[in-house]
């Protein structure tokens, strides 16, 4: 679990079964373990109305365990980008009574939440559980480029190359933390780069 810091920094919970007609799970890598954990508390027949969308980690683990839950629909996606068109359509066509469960890395939770927000779902109604990497999605406030999987502090913007302080300030709309030039006042000051978001 990520440490709580400032108010805009997302706080994640533990997935729990919600009342609803349909249940959509979006998870990556170790996020599968959150679903499997939750399933132990789920009422009988819960997954008959469920869709699980899973992006496996590099180790390819947990696919079999999720399939064993026998969801009505099960979809494997190689990346979030590849999942996006399907997820958008599912959410656009969704009716009242759909419950959303997001689990895994912060980048996955944030990006799936971003799509759901655009579809008009209130963020407080979504179940989230953070599992796995603490790597951050970061928006460079200067060039607006998003750098994925940031693990260091400071971090280099993959687009404009500025050295950025990765702040805890987070935008749900952008699904990103804010990166601000760390040595803007004196470019000769180069603080050491430490790997802190693992």
């Amino acid at each position: 679990m990520a440490a709580k810091s400032i108010i805009s920094r997302p706080v994640y919970g533990t997935l729990s079964p919600q009342a609803g007609k349909h249940h959509l799970f979006v998870a990556d890598a170790e996020g599968a373990l959150a679903i499997i954990g939750m399933a132990k508390n789920a009422p009988a027949g819960f997954f008959d109305g469920a869709e699980i969308v899973f992006i496996p980690g590099p180790d390819g683990k947990h696919v079999g365990s999720l399939e064993a839950l026998k969801p009505a629909q099960f979809h494997l996606a190689p990346s979030f980008a590849s999942l996006l068109p399907r997820l958008k359509q599912t959410l656009t066509n969704a009716h009242m009574g759909l419950r959303l469960y997001l689990s895994g890395t912060e980048g996955l939770i944030g990006q799936a939440m971003q799509v759901a927000l655009e579809a008009g779902i209130d963020h407080t109604s979504m179940q989230t559980e953070h599992r796995g990497s603490l790597a951050r999605r970061m928006q460079c406030v200067h060039c607006k480029g998003i750098t994925e999987n940031v693990t260091t502090q400071p971090a280099t913007c993959a687009h404009c190359g500025l050295l950025l302080l990765v702040r805890d300030h987070y935008s749900r709309r952008l699904a990103a933390f804010q990166g601000v030039c760390i040595n803007a006042e004196d470019r000769s000051e180069i603080p050491p780069m430490e790997e802190i978001f693992r």
Binding site: I6, I7, S8, R9, Q139, V141, H142, K144, L162, R167, D168, H169, S171, R172, R173, L174, Q178, V180, C181, A184, E185, D186, R187
Partner: protein, 349 residues
């Protein structure tokens, strides 16, 4: 007799200055010799003639130059003006408010004529004479918020009120003290204030939100906030921090008076009638140290405030690098004598 608008710049050669009258009307933000956060909100009512509160929407000698600077910022970065789709009605509310207030306070410069939904707006300083249909966006060259805030000094945030909170869902932000509308748009009151140190723990934002969500139509409120800026630069955005940040390393004992500026925000809060939103104008006033210290009371008080400012606040306001140089310069103007209560200079209106 109207305002004589100055020809001046807020970038490159930095020719911005305040006239002697504008120095005396500067909204000095310290009513005592020290500073700490407080919910310093009061009713936004008309103040003394000649002060920045003479009209509830203040237009001053910097108006034309500020609007030119805003146009330059927007040409470079259109993301400084954004409005989420549900905020158009609030944009019309704001257009009405600013046209009414500017025409009321400065009839020699602005005229609003209404015939049902057909409105004619004359802005003489900017050479604008437009007739449009209120509520019909296709009759204006920009959306209503962008149209009117390209003609109004200060930044503007429009807040949507729902779920007992205020949401930053639209804004025109080109003269900001280091916060990004593009990043913060869509956030609630607590989220966009998240990076502010100390104030959350003091419960400031909980009380402020309670106050703001209860603002009534026709009863606006206001508060002052402040920071410091090196060179009279309106656009101290995080977007351009890598461009203006190096200014902070250029302060020397010889140039403090010219380079270091007190930057005061007159923030006001107005309920909007149709959308039930709140508009939050953030009007920025700049004054260089040489101008400010022409009022001896302000010089003495500013010395004491900056000298004693808690370290977290100094860091948050970005003063760390030049604070010692500034305090040393101000010390020479502080003979230790007491300062009178209140904000005003020694020579009051």
């Amino acid at each position: 007799m109207g305002i004589t608008f100055r020809k001046e710049t807020f970038r490159d050669d930095f020719t911005f200055r305040n006239s002697p009258e504008h120095i005396r009307r500067f909204p000095f933000p310290f009513h005592e010799d020290s500073y700490m956060y407080a919910v310093n909100i009061e009713p936004h009512v008309v103040g003394p003639k000649g002060s920045v509160l003479e009209n509830l929407i203040d237009v001053d000698e910097h108006y034309v130059a500020e609007m030119q600077d805003r146009a330059l910022v927007l040409a470079e970065d259109p993301l400084r003006c954004q409005s989420l789709p549900h905020m158009t009605l609030a944009g019309w509310d704001l257009l009405e408010l600013l046209m009414e207030q500017q025409a009321l306070g400065y009839p020699e410069h602005f005229t609003l004529t209404r015939d049902g939904d057909r409105w004619r707006w004359i802005n003489r300083p900017l050479g604008i004479d437009d007739t449009f249909t209120f509520g019909d966006t296709s009759t204006l060259p920009y959306g209503p918020m962008e149209y009117i805030t390209r003609q109004s000094q200060g930044d503007f945030c429009i807040l949507d009120q729902r779920d007992g909170n205020l949401w930053m869902d639209a804004g025109m932000v080109t003269t900001q003290a280091d916060w990004s509308l593009d990043f913060d748009i869509g956030m609630n009151f607590f989220e966009w204030h998240a990076p502010v140190p100390l104030a959350h723990e003091k419960g400031i934002f909980i009380r402020a939100l309670k106050f703001l969500t209860n603002i009534q139509q026709g009863k606006p409120a206001r508060r002052l906030n402040w920071t410091m800026t090196i060179n009279p630069r309106l656009d101290t955005s995080p977007e351009n921090y890598h461009k203006w940040g190096p200014d902070r390393t250029t302060v020397t004992p010889e140039n403090v008076g010219d380079k270091v500026h007190l930057r005061v925000e007159l923030q006001s809060f107005w309920r909007l009638p149709r959308s039930n939103g709140i508009v939050f104008p953030i009007r920025c006033y700049l004054i260089k140290m040489d101008e400010l210290v022409t009022q001896p009371k302000w010089a003495r008080r500013l010395h004491r405030v900056i000298r004693d400012l808690p370290e977290e606040l100094a860091t948050y306001k970005g003063l760390t690098r030049y604070r010692p140089t500034l305090v040393e310069w101000l010390l020479k103007l502080d003979d230790g004598s007491p300062t009178s209560p209140g904000f005003g200079p020694d020579s009051v209106f």
